[in-house]
Symmetry: C2
Subunit: 379 residues, 2 copies
Amino acid sequence: MLEFNNMSYKLLKKSKKTKARRGQLKTRRGTLETPFFMPIATKGTVKSLTYEDLIQLESQIVLSNTYHLMIKPSEKLIKKAGGLHKFMHWDKPILTDSGGFQVFSLSKIRKINEEGVEFRSHLDGRKLFMKPEDSIQIQLDLGSDIVMVLDECVELPAKKEYIEQSIDLTTRWAQRCRNYFDKKTAKQTKAKKAKLFGIVQGGLEKDLRVKSAKALVNVGFDGYAIGGLSVGESEQDMYKVLDFITDELPEDKPRYLMGVGRPENIINGVKRGVDMFDCVIPTREARHGRLYLWNGKYTKDAFWNKPKSIYKQINCKAEKFSQDFTPINKDSRFEPLRIYTKAYLRHLFSVHEPLAIRLATLNNLEFYLNLMKEIRKNI
Amino acid sequence: MLEFNNMSYKLLKKSKKTKARRGQLKTRRGTLETPFFMPIATKGTVKSLTYEDLIQLESQIVLSNTYHLMIKPSEKLIKKAGGLHKFMHWDKPILTDSGGFQVFSLSKIRKINEEGVEFRSHLDGRKLFMKPEDSIQIQLDLGSDIVMVLDECVELPAKKEYIEQSIDLTTRWAQRCRNYFDKKTAKQTKAKKAKLFGIVQGGLEKDLRVKSAKALVNVGFDGYAIGGLSVGESEQDMYKVLDFITDELPEDKPRYLMGVGRPENIINGVKRGVDMFDCVIPTREARHGRLYLWNGKYTKDAFWNKPKSIYKQINCKAEKFSQDFTPINKDSRFEPLRIYTKAYLRHLFSVHEPLAIRLATLNNLEFYLNLMKEIRKNI
């Protein structure tokens, strides 16, 4: 049985050797081929790119950050504009995070209690309070297609006792998000409804992760995210959690590993049954002149088992590229990447020309999205 | 008689009311319709644009800055790359300045003598010396199509005596540039040769300007630039110089007003017989969120005599655009400018997204290049 009827996630193929799976996620704005990667449009734009670039990149979906958008320009303004899709001119799906991660990472002063979290805007210091219901309402105002519940992101290392209290709170918040979301979307048909995802927390503790997963599955969501990873722990520790956690999640729902990661992390995530990824790495690295490039042909074995061998990362700001008159990327679909030389790109970085970042961003996102294509092809 | 046979400048039409003239300038990289405007590719790129954008803009030519390129990445590297055209992938003409203007404006420490000018790099403080011959050699190494002589740019106000000494020096340097250029290009056919332009100086003094012009015409150049204007004097003072200076220049050679200006300055320059313009205004203003937009239909009379009435400049960072959901520019050839709203552009500026600058730059250069088309049409 490879299909889950009446479900929005359709399993197409499963690997015989690993937990890797290929499928389709049906959303109100079209069907996504899984596994997929979401470029980050933090403030309503993938840095330095237009919607035309995203279309040319064949990006299936983008991720926007609720925290940044609620601060500027505000969800009210975006609602007035006709929603985030219209505002940024993007008609494919958008996933929004809950805002929680930035509340916990950007805001120095924050107080959490049963009701929600109090924090100060990192921009102007004004005091704000966010309840789980607020996060959902903001995401609904933005017009998000995949809405995330508000969770507490515990900084590691933390005492096990604290983590346990935290996942219990996160579960209660998840239930409140579910209730609020259902109430607010009660009149929408299933085809028109956004999706709501729960977020499994629990640090590196197996029993707590399992407890969190079971509790969230009990609430019932359209998909399950694995949060609180790639926050400083070793890759091996992250893989250990992934090794068991996807088994706790329903097979007929998509799994989303938040904020991960390098190409080898994504491949290793897929092998452990993950379907969705997002990460700032391709775009952030681009801004620092670090380009992802393929290493030529590779075997299927190398792809899955030695993923670091299939690609290279070059720092095109390095002196050694100053006289490299070969194309930035001869295989790119973007003509400027095929025509401009590495020496030219190095020059642009060296004199701080913004075009440098645009070119590097196109290169890295193309690499990441091609990587996902290769993953889907190789499952 | 409207044609100048065997000349690289061909006069097509003269206004009956003003000195405005329409023509063609033949270069080794194609024929340019005059009057024209040159977008500034200071460091080998028009800030935030690719060659594809410049083609879409129908830019006939760009201007690059010798000073910036000789400092980084150096003319030697660009020569190795196959020249500036190949380096930046631009096969239409490039005009390069002599480097003099930046030597005098950017470098705090400089000493001028008969031989040349000693200055320090504004980047690392290293001591450099530039002779007129050096400037020509660097421009030849870059592969410039229109080469400018090295001149002294006198800061105004200055004593008349000093200005007179300075124009005499500039004339001697111009002769040395002519000699060096001719020696170095002696083996090239006329069709393959770059052009060499002299630069008229002389501040706001009529007699000195005339003296400078006569002396340069006596040396003989392919075109004549009017330098040392738009450096802080009033617009009326600038127009006064233009009122008489073009009469001193050969009718069969193009005239280039350096570093000018706002749309009304360009129109007023054309009325006084100028054929070529360059200015940082459209690109620099774009970086500050100031957009040039047409004011709708206008009469020919308004175009020539009330040029400020035919366009408006909006500061799209202003609060009043935060809820302006009309297109940035409904008449643009660039789809993103027709589709993205002013509110979205304001948001991008407000959160410092580099896409904002790219969009504003495209808008302003399109405006300037359309302005030149309108000028050519209206002569």
